[in-house]
């Protein structure tokens, strides 16, 4: 039963407030992913939990015990580094046995444990080799093996597959998920790759400038981003964001993209919830929530396709509306090419309105 709690933790690097009053509870056996751009404080938070950084204020509890004053070796957590940090002068076996020898485990038991974990990770044939003789994927397996042997209270992973090539990264992602399902240790995983986060996490923690932006399941974070930062960080391609004005005329609400002559029709009930229509607003809409038609249709606005990116399973079409480019997702080959006239409709149930000044979502849903 290992629960990790962060209570009001703060840290500064000189003038930079790198961790700003972070509160979070990671439940037992949960896989939590810290997602954010580089420099957002996610790695520093992880290192603080491991004891590799000291925090300025706040409390860190692992399994109910305050650990923020303990040295790393007393916290019983395992850490997987982006660089793997395998000791080059030791063989794979010795690397994996290293944490066990720290606690003075008997020789036979060390060998048995390393063998067992190596079996799980399918790296038994590599045990006698040195790290310099291994491929990227195998290095990563050994690094995870070194973390697993000790059966630690928590696994902390700092972009463990960030330095692998794209194909290998996909394979290792599946393997990490399998390992977590099998081993079930409480895991915190840091990444800047939102696809990794979506694929692996029980819950995603989006961080920006040292502040937690949103904590939720991948589906929640994707469907209901609390602010523009989260909206534009999660999803690929990212959510379209356009300056809009909102008006209600002739019984139908209209959302007009800045610079456009006509507005999209929205249910008046939705727009009635906008507290102050005069306020500058931004519309957020995911590419799959834009419906594209090749013939004029009821409630559709005329526009012109700008660029078409064929991606195999689907196409991404850039369409100019007013001053903004909206990117829509279509069937492959649906839009012939640049210059094709198209008609658009936005799905109001999947549209988001954000306050332009604060960037926060108005939280208006149909």
């Amino acid at each position: 039963m290992t629960q990790i709690e962060l209570r009001n933790i703060n840290k500064h690097f000189g003038p930079f407030h790198v961790i700003n009053n972070v509160n979070l509870t990671v439940k037992d056996r949960e896989f939590v992913v810290f997602l954010g751009q580089s420099g957002c404080g996610k790695t520093t938070t992880l290192r603080s939990i491991a004891g590799l950084e000291t925090i300025d204020s706040g409390e860190i509890l692992i399994g109910g015990t305050p650990v923020h004053m303990l040295k790393p070796e007393a916290r019983d957590v395992a850490f997987v580094f982006q660089s793997f940090a395998l000791y080059p002068h030791l063989t794979v076996f010795e690397n994996m046995a290293f944490p066990l020898r720290a606690v003075g485990m008997a020789k036979a038991e060390v060998a048995a444990t390393v063998e067992r974990v190596a079996g799980v990770l399918q790296i038994r044939p590599l045990l006698k080799r040195r790290p310099s003789a291994l491929s990227g994927g195998d290095l990563q397996r050994v690094a995870i093996g070194r973390a697993l042997v000790r059966n630690p209270k928590a696994m902390l992973m700092d972009e463990p597959i960030g330095s692998l090539d794209a194909k290998l990264r996909e394979e290792m992602r599946v393997e990490l998920k399998r390992l977590h399902v099998e081993q079930g240790s409480t895991t915190i995983y840091v990444t800047h790759d939102q696809i990794e986060a979506m694929a692996l996490a029980d819950r995603i923690v989006v961080m920006h400038a040292g502040v937690l932006q949103q904590v939720g399941t991948p589906a929640e974070v994707y469907a209901n981003p609390v602010n523009l930062f989260v909206a534009q960080f999660v999803g690929s391609p990212v959510m379209n964001v356009a300056d809009v004005t909102v008006s209600g005329a002739a019984g139908a609400g209209l959302v007009t993209v800045k610079g456009a002559s006509e507005g999209f029709a929205f249910p008046p009930a939705l727009l009635a919830q906008v507290p102050d229509a005069a306020r500058a607003l931004k519309l957020g809409i995911r590419p799959e929530a834009i419906e594209v038609a090749l013939t004029p249709a009821e409630g559709h606005l005329a526009a012109e396709a700008h660029i078409v990116e064929p991606l195999g399973s689907h196409d991404i079409v850039d369409i100019r509306v007013g001053d903004s480019l909206l990117r829509a997702r279509t069937r492959p080959g649906f839009v012939a090419g640049p210059g094709t006239p198209v008609w658009l409709r936005l799905d109001p149930t999947r549209a988001h309105l954000f306050d332009s000044e604060t960037g926060n979502s108005l939280g208006i849903r149909l």
Binding site: L52, E73, R75, V77, A78, F79, F81, A85, Y87, H89
Partner: protein, 319 residues
């Protein structure tokens, strides 16, 4: 070597081989000369043109290690017959080995000077490298107020020409009774080498990724254990290189050894030239002393060659 070579390239290749051979001859010439002279009978040492082919003998080494005196007349046949083979070679050269009243061979000053050199050089190298490594680790891994100033200060201790401090050092050493003592020379050479050792080791330790220690810390080791189990093995190449340089400096040091010591703690460098003496110098003995003096550095470097040649292996880190 599968690439096609043009005639010009072949010529350049051969020319560079010839040049290399020439350079090699120039560099190895003096060493060959010393080695050859060390095994020559005395009468062949200074011939013009130089004798290249001769029957090697060890009389120069026997004479180097023992006290001896000139003899005017050849020894009596029974004395000659009773002498061991190595002493016969000395008799053949017109000298005899001096023995004590009990008939024991009396040693010259060389063996004890050589031993002094070993004691002083090995001890000061150990001290300079170990202290330098720990200091460098501190500078490399921790934030230290005025770090750059401290490092410059450490380097600045090497900036004064040794000659400038020789006389003050001699007076201070005499005042505290450190002159002509092993400890005195060890302190002096350690101080010489320390700044060099700190700077060199800092460069090597900076190259060792901090993640290794971070990993060792979360693996359950203290920082001290991480230093000994991870940093030291990783820094082996740097330690070997630093040790070789420190050893060479301490081993070859001449000026301070000449000033600070005269008998008890005298090292080999000031002793060897003192054997030139007055009258006709015996070049074979001096060459033998020099030849032996060259060996420890050669052996030390040879033993550490793998560490010196092995590049830092960073195969396990992705940058």
């Amino acid at each position: 070597m599968a690439a096609v070579r043009t005639a010009g390239e072949v010529f350049r290749h051969r020319a560079s081989l010839v040049t290399l051979l020439l350079v090699l001859v120039i560099f190895l010439g003096p060493i060959f000369w010393i080695t050859a002279t060390a095994f020559k009978p005395r009468n062949l040492a200074t011939t013009v043109p130089p004798t290249v082919f001769f029957e090697p003998e060890i009389s120069p080494f026997v004479k180097l290690m023992t006290k001896r005196s000139q003899i005017r007349t050849a020894p009596a046949p029974e004395v000659y017959e009773a002498a061991p083979w190595w002493e016969k070679q000395v008799y053949d050269g017109g000298e005899k080995v001096v023995r004590s009243g009990k008939g024991e061979v009396q040693l010259s000053g060389y063996p004890s000077r050589f031993l002094n050199s070993l004691i002083v050089a090995v001890t000061s190298t150990l001290l300079a490298v170990s202290m330098g490594t720990i200091t460098a680790y501190g500078f490399s891994r921790f934030k230290i107020a005025g770090e750059d100033d401290w490092l410059f200060f450490i380097l600045s201790t090497r900036m004064l020409p040794p000659v400038v401090v020789a006389i003050p050092m001699f007076l201070m050493y005499r005042a505290v009774g450190l002159n002509d003592s092993h400890l005195g020379l060890i302190i002096l050479y350690t101080a010489f080498n320390l700044s060099f050792s700190v700077w060199l080791m800092k460069g090597f330790i900076d190259e060792i990724p901090k993640e290794y220690e971070d990993a060792a810390l979360v693996d359950g080791y203290t920082r001290m254990q991480a230093f000994f189990k991870i940093v030291l093995p990783e820094a082996a190449t740097g330690i070997a290189a630093t040790a070789v340089f420190c050893f060479i400096t301490a081993w070859n040091e001449y000026a301070f050894a000449l000033i600070m010591t005269n008998r008890r703690a005298q090292t080999a460098p000031p002793f060897i030239p003192s054997q030139v003496g007055s009258g006709l110098p015996d070049w074979t003995v001096i060459a033998a002393g020099t030849f032996l003096f060259l060996l420890p550095v050669a052996i030390f470097t040879f033993l550490l060659r793998n560490h010196l040649l092995r590049g830092m292996s960073f195969g396990a880190i992705r940058k």
